[in-house]
Amino acid sequence: MTEQMGRRGFFAIAAAAVGAVIQDTVSSSRVYDPARAGRALPPITAADNDPGIRVLEKQLKCSCGCGLDIYTCRTTDFSCTYSPGLHKEVLALAGQGKTAQEIIDAFVAQYGQQVLMAPPKRGFNLAGYFVPSIAIVIAAAFLIRTLRRWTRSAEVTAPVLDAPPDASPAELEQLRRELDRLQG
């Protein structure tokens, strides 16, 4: 009986040793001081790398105060504790079969408009998008009007020659070209 147990024990130990060798071969060894490398991270999944998720997360802001979007924050600031959680929320909503817009709407409902990297184009936010363009268009119109007025007044006081220049149109064009060149 004792001999039988001893044999069993030997095989058990041998199996454990072989298992340990296999485990050590297959998995990675521990580093000297894991704390130096920052927070331990979970392995990357296919969903983490999904281009659709990436595009979506680039439209949503991380709430840690970094000013970055969720994707950039979670793949840059590895000490951030917010972006991994927000990423999980995105994955969970995507897992429920929600569309990108539905996920965005869900985030806005939960965190407010400031979760969006750019304000939605409605209401007062339209001023955010269109005031610069409108201002530039108005300024351009004003500039063109002013330039026209200036050129008209320049025509009124245009120089008048005492006598017409003794030069052919071709020579005048050549003179103008030379003047252009001289004036840079």
Binding site: V31, D48, P119, G128, A139
Partner: protein
């Protein structure tokens, strides 16, 4: 030493106030003794502030941790290189640095300004002393770097790891030099307004100083972009952060001025506009300082929120009101000496260039302030991030790039149709040719197509200008074409240096367009495992994780990951990316672990490797691999831009501004009104 520093600050404040009073009084009353006193005050203020700076540096190098500033930003094991930069690593020290550099510029303006501009100098001394005195008062009453604590810690907290990068040693001083030196052109503009000497004389002094500011600010922005790219690890170089925007605003306005000033020099027009641009650029620099230092807008770059914001807000409002009121009272004296003759002229193209530059500046300012406005109007906080800025500014930027090519092709005063045809034929053909090649190659991104196509157009414009000029010299003097091209630059540094700046801008735009084709992936790899990533050029990169090593270095504990890089199966190099845990002299962790990126930079693309972390403390590593196309060209474009700027700035060789009324034609004429 700190007592000496404290006393120096008080002395600088008193001398600064004295300089301001005597400068303005001496200028207005024409009293030479007061004018001389104001001049001496600028030198005395510089001396006092230099003593204060040296006192703080001595405290930093002596590890005087009883000083709150030294304890907050340094530690015993901080490398010497960064002990120097600790002077401007924090709010208080950077304000001292700011005031000192401002007083240095104030003294240089007094020494270097040509004799013929002497009439402006008392006012210049007054303005610079006033602004410097303001900064010193902020130091004394709200952000004193010589403040002591009730106890002395054994070691300091140390410097933020992200600031322990060579880029951060040079980026802030360059940016500050740019920001601060804008005060000198502003001071000359105020001097011209106060003295009513509003002919083009003040422009000569102002233009060079503005170019100095523009160049330093540009270098500061470029080094900041480089630092963000190599240090922050997010794989980009510009994030439209409020603080980045604040530095861009005065640069854009100064760029507009450097173009429109040519119209004033050549034609005596746009006097009101040019003065407004200089005043606006300076006010924007103070506005940027307010944003950076008040914490009014959330930014990763900003200093901690403090009461200095109120000082800057009050100063900004007071100076804005005073400047614009003075400007308004002098408007009748700012009449143009010539009329615009045609809508199709160099002058008009410069005005449209100004419109777009100011338009971009306005949209950046608007976007930066919109979150505050939105909260005030609709009570809702919104985020205005890169998607907004890209949407608004990319079309404007492309329009500006087009004008960069169009402007030099249009003649001054009036362009004739044959002239336009002759000038535009080659550049337009080149632009269309580049566009067609890109389309045939399969590029479909509209923004990138436009940027690179317009880049071809502008490059051809510059090449045509150099070619014609060099050929003309070759014909006239028999010089070899290459020598003729070099001498051409030497003979007209402003014009051809400016074209080189345009080439730098083209390279920057093309490089920016490259980011549209960025590709990235994340992977978890055990030693020996590989991930693959396809570049936009079709190359397949295979990245093999070799393993993790840990060691101590200087003031940090390092966890390094090594990656073998193969392109299309061929080994091309090995990259190292790190996690750094900074520690104090006792070995205690000081900050969260930071990331050091591994970058393999090439002409076509950068491979950008980031170690995210480890899985359960094992050698299994989480990576982010990114391919960033054309990033190298951002830095090269920056070099070209700076090189061109230096050529423009180099003394001599440039065209001198013409005094008095400009000739209206090449022959004797009578105006209609005179007949």
């Amino acid at each position: 030493m700190t007592l000496l520093g404290q006393l120096s600050l008080w002395l600088a404040l008193l001398v600064g106030l004295w300089g301001a009073i005597t400068g303005f009084a001496g200028g207005l009353q024409g009293r030479a003794d007061l004018q001389q006193s104001a001049r001496h005050a600028t030198f005395a203020m510089l001396a006092a502030l230099l003593v204060a700076c040296v006192s703080l540096e001595v405290a930093i190098f002596r590890h005087d941790f009883n000083l709150e500033y030294v304890a907050a930003y340094t530690s015993r094991n901080l490398p010497t290189f960064y002990l120097w930069s600790a002077l401007y690593a924090g709010q208080k020290g950077s304000l001292l640095f700011w005031a000192t550099v401002l007083s240095l510029f104030a003294a240089l303006a007094q020494v270097l300004t040509a004799r013929r501009h002497r009439a402006y100098l008392p006012y210049v001394a007054g303005v610079t002393c006033l602004v410097a005195a303001f900064f010193v008062s902020v130091l004394l009453f709200a952000a004193n770097p010589f403040e002591r604590m009730a106890f002395t810690p054994v070691d300091g907290r140390g410097m933020n790891p992200q600031l322990q990068n060579p880029g951060m040693v040079f980026h802030p001083p360059m940016l500050y030099l740019g920001y601060i030196s804008i005060t000198i052109p502003f001071a000359f503009a105020i001097a011209a307004l106060l003295s009513k000497k509003l002919d083009s004389d003040w422009l000569v002094a102002v233009r060079k100083w503005t170019l100095v500011s523009w160049l330093f600010l540009g270098i500061g922005l470029l080094i900041g972009m480089w630092w963000a790219y190599v240090e922050l690890g997010w794989g980009g170089y510009w994030a439209w952060d409020p603080v980045e925007n604040a530095a861009l605003l005065p640069w854009l306005v100064m760029t507009a001025f450097l173009h429109s000033v040519m119209v004033q020099e050549k034609r005596g027009m746009l006097k009101k506009w040019n003065l407004a641009l200089i005043i606006g650029a300076w006010l924007l620099s103070i506005f940027g300082t307010f944003i950076t230092r008040s914490g009014v807008i959330a930014s990763v770059h900003s200093f901690t929120q403090s009461s200095v914001g109120y000082f800057f807000l009050v100063f900004l409002v007071v100076m804005a009101v005073a400047s614009w009121v003075l400007y308004a009272t002098r408007l009748p004296l700012l009449t143009a000496e010539a009329k615009l003759e045609s809508m199709v002229s160099r002058e008009a193209s410069f005005l449209f260039n100004n419109l777009l530059l100011i338009g971009i500046a306005f949209s950046v300012l608007w976007g930066t302030l919109f979150p505050i406005l939105s909260e005030a109007v609709q009570g809702t906080k919104v985020t205005v991030g890169p998607p907004f800025f890209n949407q608004v500014n990319i079309p404007l930027g492309l329009g500006l790039l087009a004008l960069t090519g169009i402007g030099p092709l249009i003649a001054w005063r009036r362009a004739s149709v044959p002239n336009l045809r002759r000038q535009f034929a080659v550049p337009v053909t080149a632009g269309v040719f580049v566009l067609l090649i890109l389309l045939v190659a399969g590029m479909r991104d509209v923004g990138a197509l436009m940027a690179i196509g317009l880049g071809g157009f502008v490059t051809a414009t510059v090449a045509q200008e150099f070619g014609r000029g060099a050929r003309a010299r070759h014909r006239q003097y028999g010089e070899p074409v290459a020598l003729a091209a070099v001498r051409l630059i030497g003979r007209n540094r402003r014009r051809y240096g400016g074209y080189i700046v345009h080439l730098g801008i083209v390279l920057l735009f093309i490089a920016f367009a490259g980011m549209a084709f960025k590709t990235e992936t994340q992977a978890t790899l055990r030693p020996g495992e590989s991930a693959t990533l396809k570049s936009p050029y079709g190359h397949v990169y295979t990245l093999t994780h070799l393993g993790i090593s840990q060691y101590n270095a200087l003031n940090r504990q390092v966890t390094a990951a090594l990656v073998d890089v193969r392109r299309d199966g061929k080994l091309i190099g090995r990259l190292k990316t790190e996690k750094r845990q900074h520690v104090d002299a006792l070995g205690n962790p000081t900050f969260e672990p930071s990331t050091e990126v591994g970058i393999r930079s090439g002409l076509r693309e950068d491979l950008y490797v980031v170690l995210g972390g480890l899985v359960n403390g094992t050698e299994q590593a989480v990576y982010r691999f990114t391919i960033n196309p054309l990033v190298w060209w951002v830095w090269f474009g920056g070099y070209v831009l700076v090189f061109g700027g230096l050529i423009v700035l180099w003394p001599g060789g440039g065209q001198q501004a013409v005094k008095g009324p400009r000739p209206q034609a090449g022959y004797a004429v009578k105006l209609e009104a005179e007949r």
